[in-house]
Symmetry: C2
Subunit: 218 residues, 2 copies
């Protein structure tokens, strides 16, 4: 059964692949699962039909027959668990790979997202500039630890897994901040992830939405 | 095989059960799994032996034979997946319950933790008081949505699951803020979770560490 995901009708990042549908597209490409996309406007995201699928008014959602999921972590885990290629078959290795999924979303992403959103949340406030260094240092604290753990390895734990997929998309949020460049092994890790053919296919697919919308608007 | 978890040697919250080992203790109690606890000092948490288990220098960790896990989401999922009582057997319901685990840790917890930590992070900064209202409103935004979704139901999705376990522990972080009390159904939800016998056993076990430590220090 072909799953349907939702994505932004108008890409807030102009197709740079930062929207969270990118994670799900990438996971689907890694396991070779074709999918449909339903585009949702910012207005529709706050309406009852979408809130029934996603109570927090966000994208992406994932529909597959009677099943409807939200939260990219849960969707990627679902895809990874029902296919081969994103989670190891060995039961203990399965749990280890999932540990990195939660580490990406619960330990790395929150301080990174806080730094990324600061200009939007309080960029006009008198406290903004004073906070930025603190937020950067908080991200560095986690990047130090992640960099130490990764060392010279290609991936966080053996073969590429759903944990790497989520971690790479989280670290990509630092693009433009200069922080990732302070950690050559983490920069190389993200580049390695982005060079995967499945990543490229997913990236091109989300970019095509934006390109088509731009053309249509002109 | 009896798993071993780690917990704070000295409870920063004086045994109120806010430390994250509470989540793992509760999950283990729900499935009826006995466990051992190894207490770790703040100093030891930053040393190589602990960092090998938990690269971000936190507690809890979970060791079971050759398997070592960190991240409470991953540990609770592991416990839930290998036992009965915390995740439904039906495959689609399993994925739905896991959606709520990620919602708790990736959508609710970050803004709640940011609010909770603000007094420690920038309580001495000139911008602090100005930020608090914004942080509270950001939490309210998510509580509004969660409250709407929960409605009059006992649990987020059918029977009590690992998703409820994590959500309740995340919402408990709001104690003392007055925010949870603005949502009677969410307050009742947390009270319902905390009334579970497994929760009480887990709470008493983590409190006993603090009580014993206090007694020893006097």
């Amino acid at each position: 059964m072909t799953p349907t995901i939702t994505a932004f009708e108008q890409s807030p990042d102009r197709g740079q692949g930062m929207a969270r549908d990118m994670r799900v597209r990438w996971a689907l490409e890694e396991v070779g699962q074709v999918y449909d996309v339903r585009l949702v406007s910012f207005k529709a995201m706050k309406e009852a039909a979408h809130l029934a699928l996603q109570p927090f008014g966000q994208i992406p959602t994932y529909e597959e027959g009677d099943l409807a999921l939200f939260e990219t972590g849960a969707i990627v885990l679902h895809i990874a668990d029902r296919n081969t290629g994103l989670l190891p078959a060995d039961a203990n290795a399965w749990s280890r790979a999932i540990t990195w999924m939660f580490a990406a979303l619960n330990t790395l992403e929150p301080p990174i997202l806080e730094l990324e959103q600061a200009p939007y949340l309080d960029g006009d406030k008198p406290w903004h500039s004073g906070r930025m260094r603190m937020l950067e240092d908080r991200v560095r604290f986690r990047l130090d630890q992640l960099s130490s753990r990764l060392g010279n390895a290609d991936w966080l734990e053996g073969a590429f897994s759903a944990g790497d997929l989520l971690m790479a998309t989280v670290l990509r949020r630092l693009e433009g901040s200069g922080l990732l460049e302070e950690y050559p092994n983490l920069s190389a890790y993200v580049a390695r992830a982005m060079a995967r053919p499945a990543y490229r296919r997913a990236f091109d697919a989300q970019l095509a939405v934006f390109t088509a919308a731009s053309t249509g608007a002109e």
